[in-house]
Subunit: 446 residues, 2 copies
């Protein structure tokens, strides 16, 4: 598998243009960030880092890909040297990133890429879609998990994810965001995420009678048995499950009015002495519905969340962008870049995010604001080197470590940030050095 063409075509026309303008090897600094928080989100949990490291470590163009490009009308007049260069292209630059699982806010770089212009440019598209998608899902998962108030949440959305690969990545990102696991078997194997799931309605329907399907399941799974009880009549299904007794884990409800059904099913289980049998609920759930179910005291022990989680249905895209902030060449020295487009303006120069106890300061990458050892007020510099000269400086944390980091970071955020509704409780300031640079660069340009 070659990664070369997993990019927007204009990255390649620009690459050809940089080559012909003698700019291919100028040293560029790009920052990846969200302009502002998505609808109804008070933070974004960063996820997807090992996958972009994998991409950068393996970025290259196969002979077939280069032949394809060479045959396109857009490249008819392109200098053949460009294709020779593409055949040799590898990522030789530096990657700085905040650790996976870190909550970030509008305007704050999550990643910085410093590399020859052409390499950094081609990488843009893959980086945006990988970080954008996984961060969006990790964020959604954190909201759902918060709403569940300690009850387990499992990611069940593979079938509605935007492609099979998105399903695998949603399983990973959901786990980082706090889910107990996923239904996606490949995510389980690749990323060591616990896998969940027992049976679908087809299992029930594959037997002539619901009772037969329940008996067979109990023989198969013993204490892991979860009876899916809504295929024909939910309360009748609950009575059948209760009649079979132990061993069982519990039952699953997948349709109907859960606020009414859950207590009725609970009573049936309790009356049969199965007070430790659990109730799992699934079926178009999200953080808002879970919040309501818990407020209505529905006796549900575990939630399976599918479509709404794996598509982040109420905010199905994350407005990640990747902007050139510096460009350096031997002839012209360093130049700070920015744009002024309406509602899309960007700030010049490489940056660092300094996290204090109750706010962030966005400063220049060369600043040291409240760094460890400085007495005044301690802050953490969030962007750290991940790759230097095209190589990983150390192995990345595991998916499970990223999940723990996310939990630790989320525990530090003030309560309003955890609201299911918009609160924008976290303050992001600009350092005076960054403000000065911005003013100076804009004045020079005007």
């Amino acid at each position: 598998m070659s990664y070369g063409l997993l990019t927007d075509f204009y990255q390649l026309t620009m690459a050809a243009g940089y080559f012909e303008a003698g700019k291919a090897r100028e040293r560029a600094t790009f920052e990846l960030f969200i302009r502002k928080l998505p609808w109804n989100r008070n933070f974004v949990l960063v996820a997807g880092l090992p996958q972009i490291a994998e991409y950068l470590l393996n970025l290259s163009f196969s002979k077939e890909e280069i032949d394809y490009l060479r045959g396109l009308p857009q490249f008819e007049h392109t200098h053949p040297g460009f294709f020779d260069m593409l055949a040799e292209l590898r990522f030789t630059g530096d990657l700085f990133a905040v650790p996976e699982g870190t909550p970030m806010f509008g305007g704050e770089p999550m990643l910085t890429v410093r590399a020859p212009l052409i390499e950094a440019q081609i990488a843009e598209t893959y980086l945006l879609s990988m970080i954008g998608f996984q961060s969006m899902i990790a964020t959604k998962a954190a909201r759902v998990v918060k709403a569940a108030l300690g009850r387990q949440v499992v990611e069940f959305g593979t079938r509605r994810a935007h492609s099979p690969e998105a399903g695998v990545l949603a399983g990973r990102a959901g786990y980082i965001g706090g889910c107990a696991g996923t239904s996606n078997a490949a995510a389980g194997m690749r990323f060591d995420v616990p896998v969940f799931g027992t049976t679908a309605h087809s299992w029930i329907m594959a037997f002539p009678h619901e009772r037969d399907s329940f008996e067979q399941l109990q023989r198969l799974l013993g204490e892991s048995t979860v009876y899916l009880i809504d295929s024909y009549d939910t309360l009748e299904g609950a009575r059948r499950a209760a009649a079979l007794g132990r061993p069982l884990w519990g039952v699953r409800l997948d349709s109907g009015n859960l606020t009414e059904l859950a207590p009725a099913v609970r009573k049936i289980l309790d009356d049969a002495g199965l007070t430790d049998a659990k109730i799992m609920a699934t079926g178009d759930l999200n953080e808002y519905k879970i919040h309501e179910l818990i407020a209505a005291r529905a006796p549900i022990d575990m939630f399976g969340v599918g479509t709404e989680l794996s598509t982040s249905a109420d905010a199905p895209s994350l407005g990640v962008v990747y902007k050139l902030v510096e460009l350096e060449s031997e002839e012209s020295g360093r130049r700070y870049t920015f744009k002024l487009s309406e509602d899309k303006a960007t700030l010049p120069g490489a940056k660092q995010v300094f996290r204090f106890a109750d706010h962030d300061v966005l400063g220049r990458s060369t600043e040291c604001l409240g760094c460890t050892g400085v007495e005044r007020s301690p802050a953490e510099a969030l962007l750290r080197p991940v790759m230097l000269g095209g190589k990983l400086i150390e192995p990345l944390p595991s998916t499970n470590e990223a999940r723990h980091h996310a939990a630790d970071c989320l525990a530090m955020l003030p309560a309003p940030c955890h609201s299911l509704f918009e609160s924008h409780a976290w303050r992001v300031e600009l350092s005076s050095e960054l403000k000065s640079l911005t003013e100076r660069v804009q004045q020079e340009a005007s």
Copy 2:
């Protein structure tokens, strides 16, 4: 690459259960359909067929995957014969499908899988996510293209697609839905979709002055030159582009109030004698905004649509389901299956969709309603064999052929189906044979 684990874990626990219950080889018929049309959609264009054929032709479990499963606590007590069977598993069944690009409606099977129960069950998850995603995007594209009233629409959404692979597939599906092409280079190469795109803001910012970047672009691209004019000041950018004159294709606007900017930019180009230079618009567009821009007579010649198209933002999932409708074994003969879950009831028995000039009839697969040669009223039976006994019966149509088929089918739909808003203008009836079967089977079960 092995496809085995690209599935929900419960498919594998069910597979183990079918194996232990001696049901693995019972012949199952599953149908894939949407329960009802998504929000604000009057049809769904089916897409993704070659990718699921590829999956079914190559479905298998690697040794590593089987070792992973064997090590899970859920499979601790599973009969070792199950894993031996998994190691040998291939898809040996039949696939029936409607041609790619066919518009379908609620309750109508898009695919039918008839295969040994265990094979058909494991395939469910991949089929749902692949057909669901591509069909959702092809449908969205058809809406955007319709709104553009003959102006070209290009799919530009890779960076916001849900994973890099989703970006490639969105480029393919968007093209089937009527887009002129995509920004996704891999979709261009793999599926022969025309690729579009010239430069981003980073190109402009990579030069000390906007003018330098424009001059260099014109030298590079000649008549394909598209100046991106909104980096600093849109009208100033337009004047710079106009001053450079020919050769050029035109300019691109990516921010600001397009209703006001487009006429002003048009005037600048016209005043410079560049009446044939074109204006392309991009930036968070969708079918609704394009409809408004055209209604306001904004002089825009081409639209690039990104995030909203590649995520189907106003309806970001398609409620595809995959339901067991028949099960047959040598001992028990054939049994028709269904479920009654609230709002999620399904109809028993394998079906066929008969398309008449102004409505569909959903009948049993054994019926022949108005088939070719029958005088009364001609209808087309939409579900056709694609794979038999695990093999393709003939090569599938190309992406471009699917695109033409979609255009032909869409041209046959009545005007209300093309509304951007909900009209549900197409009638779907049940045949009397299907109604009888449903009543009989439900009575027998109660």
